[in-house]
């Protein structure tokens, strides 16, 4: 089963890569597949950790509430906003545009965090 899954994942990736190449009009094979490396931000003790997190474009960031208090993940620009996350609840958002994304807990607004999304070239783009 695992082998099958891996193969399917692989074909999806190849298809996606081809699509990118076609869209871009250049024949490039990306070394790091966009979106392959997902990232987790841990919520505990009324803090987001890591508080500032740099990820590649296409990364899906998952916030995992391990605190004994409900929290939310709310973008300062209202780009995304989770429901209340009780202990053990998670929220994910995929970042498709490079930039600096500030967010906070709308219940406890002194809790703040930042996701920095880098283009695949590694260049930082500041919104």
């Amino acid at each position: 089963m695992n082998a099958m899954k891996a193969m399917m994942k692989c074909s999806l990736f190849v298809a996606a890569a081809l699509q990118v190449a076609v869209l871009a009009g250049v024949a490039v094979v990306p070394i790091t597949p966009a979106g392959a490396a997902d990232a987790t931000v841990k919520i505990d003790n009324f803090t987001f950790a890591p508080q500032q997190f740099t990820v590649k474009i296409g990364t899906t960031v998952t916030w995992d509430n391990e605190d004994d208090t409900p929290h939310t993940v709310a973008s300062s620009t209202k780009l995304f906003r989770s429901n209340a996350l009780d202990t053990g609840d998670r929220f994910s958002f995929t970042f498709t545009t490079p930039g600096v994304y500030r967010y906070f807990c709308s219940l406890h607004p002194h809790m703040i965090g930042t996701i920095v999304v880098e283009a695949t070239t590694g260049a930082k783009v500041v919104q």
Partner: protein, 316 residues
């Protein structure tokens, strides 16, 4: 009373950590307020204060019931809420009404609101609510406003009068800003200014809101960003009593004619400011939990400006 002395010390020297912690050691169960001569003061024992004047206005403050909370700090928050209501039912003098200073529920779920309403209704008293941040988790705070927002303005603020005392319920838990504290907002502050306009400075005012309207510990968000403007409108009044919740512990400060008081939760205690890595629920020995939960009894006596406040633990 020792708690009153603490309050005056805060007013004259500012709130040092040591003083705050000293205040924290003051244990009561409900808060009974008596208004006299401009500065509210709390009396020692609930029965003593209540026995003084049967013709006075007595009301109760309950706070932070967090119905739905089931974590180790208190696996049965609905149960301790019910215990608090039972204590209220057993009071020798029936209060005129109750105020609930927010965090009725833990997660704003319809079933939690249902349970909270069922429990509180056993007291057979009118309840005047303001929301806590846990009550407005759903977008636009629809559930809270449907249940408790009738006749209120904006996100749920309002005022009413009882026995010559002007009561104002404020909302400081919506539209919070990243990195900020509690928030009243311009619309509500303008309403407050108009609400107070033309009122005699001699009429006692009671303001209640969830998050403290004085800055207790900004590192944990324990304060309200724009409360100074509200307090500015209130300072001309001879007696202003500000009742808050949110911090799940008794804390009091007197500043001129303003008395600030935070009530206990009926659900779980929280640590003293800075005494833990975060303000999360504090787990204490099972036998001690009910010493740290409680209700607040407030009495106003006609002809006197000072409110008598008595905090009573569920168990002492």
């Amino acid at each position: 009373m020792s708690d009153h002395d603490h309050g005056n010390e805060h007013a004259s020297r500012g709130v040092s950590r040591r003083k705050v912690l000293e205040c924290m050691t003051w244990a009561g169960t409900g808060v009974l307020w008596t208004i006299s001569a401009g500065v509210p003061r709390s009396l020692g024992i609930i029965d003593e204060a209540m026995a003084q004047d049967a013709g006075s206005l007595t009301f109760l403050q309950i706070s932070d019931s967090h119905v739905g909370f089931d974590k180790p700090a208190n696996p049965n928050a609905a149960g301790t809420y019910e215990e608090a209501i039972n204590r209220i039912k057993a009071l020798p003098i029936k209060p005129s009404f109750m105020i609930h200073t927010g965090d009725i529920t833990h997660l704003s779920k319809p079933s939690e609101f249902d349970d909270a309403d069922r429990i509180v209704s056993q007291a057979r008293l009118d309840v005047h609510y303001v929301p806590g941040e846990h009550d407005v988790i759903d977008q636009e705070a629809k559930l809270y406003r449907e249940r408790y927002g009738r006749g209120t303005k904006g996100a749920g603020w309002y005022s009413f009068d009882a026995n010559g005392v002007h009561f104002i319920g404020l909302v400081n838990v919506v539209d919070l800003k990243a990195g900020g504290l509690g928030n009243l907002g311009n619309e509500q502050l303008e309403w407050l200014e108009n609400d107070l306009k033309g009122r005699s400075a001699s009429s006692p005012v009671v303001v209640f809101a969830h998050i403290p309207l004085w800055t207790i510990y900004p590192e944990w968000g324990w304060g309200t960003d724009d409360s100074a403007r509200a307090l500015d409108y209130l300072k001309r009044f001879g007696s202003v009593t500000v009742l808050n919740g949110h911090i799940h512990q008794v804390m009091q400060k007197v500043e001129g004619n303003l008395t600030f008081h935070c009530a206990r939760s009926t659900a779980f205690p929280q640590p003293a400011p800075g005494a833990a890595p975060s303000p999360g629920p504090m787990k204490v020995d099972d036998g001690k939990l009910r010493n740290m939960l409680g209700i607040t009894n407030v009495t106003f006596r006609r002809g006197q400006q000072r409110l008598a406040i008595i905090d009573t633990p569920l168990q002492s």
